[in-house]
């Protein structure tokens, strides 16, 4: 692979289209498999009944919301350090999809909280608050980027915000350990056996990969729009 060849927007433009197509196909197929497992294979939960089936979108969406932020901040950091044009475009292309998954995590969390905790929302709960702050960080990034007319300056200013905001990610992740919260601890971790049935875990992981593929496809479609709008696609 000639990495630096692809670091230029013109040469990346057609590659982004190919990646978007394949990841889009993979996302659709994986979602069909994941939802089939989630609704027809995974058994009813002994304590929560059918309400737990929200897990198949809630947990993957929450993972994506944090993961996409880290990826966005990494691109922003590369752009700030090396002043490469494509990096800022990538960060800007990821932000709306990250915000989308953050909102989905909050929305499905609220709808899951009502039947299990007895409430849609609790102001001041550390897990809920830190995830809400994540949504505001995405919105802040997008608003700041949109407010500055020169795209390179917008990339740098919003990129700085993205890099600083990354401190919120470990706060979200560890909030269930550091403070008292209604939210349960991690159900899946690398250091211990998963605390759920195998079919439930499989459905959840398949949906996570599906959301991953979708995010890549959406970011690639958006970065193509950005490249074209900035007039960098002319030579392709």
């Amino acid at each position: 692979m000639r990495w630096f060849w692809y670091a230029s927007p013109q040469t990346f433009f057609p590659l982004a289209g190919t990646i978007a197509r394949w990841c889009g196909v993979a996302a659709v197929l994986l979602m069909i498999v994941g939802l089939t497992i989630g609704f027809f294979v995974a058994p009813t939960d002994a304590q929560q009944g059918e309400a737990y089936r929200i897990i198949f979108i809630h947990v993957p969406a929450a993972w994506m919301s944090m993961f996409l932020y880290v990826v966005m901040a990494c691109w922003a950091a590369v752009g700030l350090a090396l002043n490469t044009r494509l990096s800022g475009m990538m960060a800007a292309a990821i932000a709306p999809t990250g915000a989308l998954f953050t909102f989905i995590a909050l929305w499905t969390g609220a709808l899951w909280g009502r039947p299990t905790w007895g409430t849609y929302w609790v102001w001041g709960d550390p897990r809920l608050m830190s995830e809400l702050i994540l949504l505001f960080l995405y919105f802040g990034f997008m608003a700041l980027h949109a407010a500055i007319e020169d795209p390179r300056r917008a990339d740098r200013a919003a990129g700085l915000l993205a890099v600083v905001g990354v401190v919120n990610i470990p706060i979200i992740y560890y909030s269930v350990q550091w403070w008292n919260t209604l939210h349960q601890g991690a159900s899946v971790s690398l250091t211990s056996a998963p605390k759920m049935a195998a079919t439930m875990l499989t459905g959840m992981l398949v949906m996570a990969v599906a959301f991953w593929m979708y995010s890549i496809a959406a970011a690639m479609l958006r970065v193509r729009c950005i490249i074209r709008e900035r007039g960098d696609a002319s030579r392709s």
Partner: protein
């Protein structure tokens, strides 16, 4: 079939989650494709 859609009494919570999720994903795709077509025209 109706038992499936009833979700053991949790229909609003389960379908409310899935409905909004897939609605938003679809909206994002539509907006992206529209934005792409607009760019194509101007280019």
């Amino acid at each position: 079939m109706s038992e499936f859609f009833a979700m053991g009494g949790y229909a609003w919570y389960v379908w409310g989650s899935y409905g909004v999720t897939f609605f938003l994903i679809l909206m994002e795709l539509i907006l992206l494709i529209r934005r792409g077509k607009q760019g194509e025209k101007q280019a």
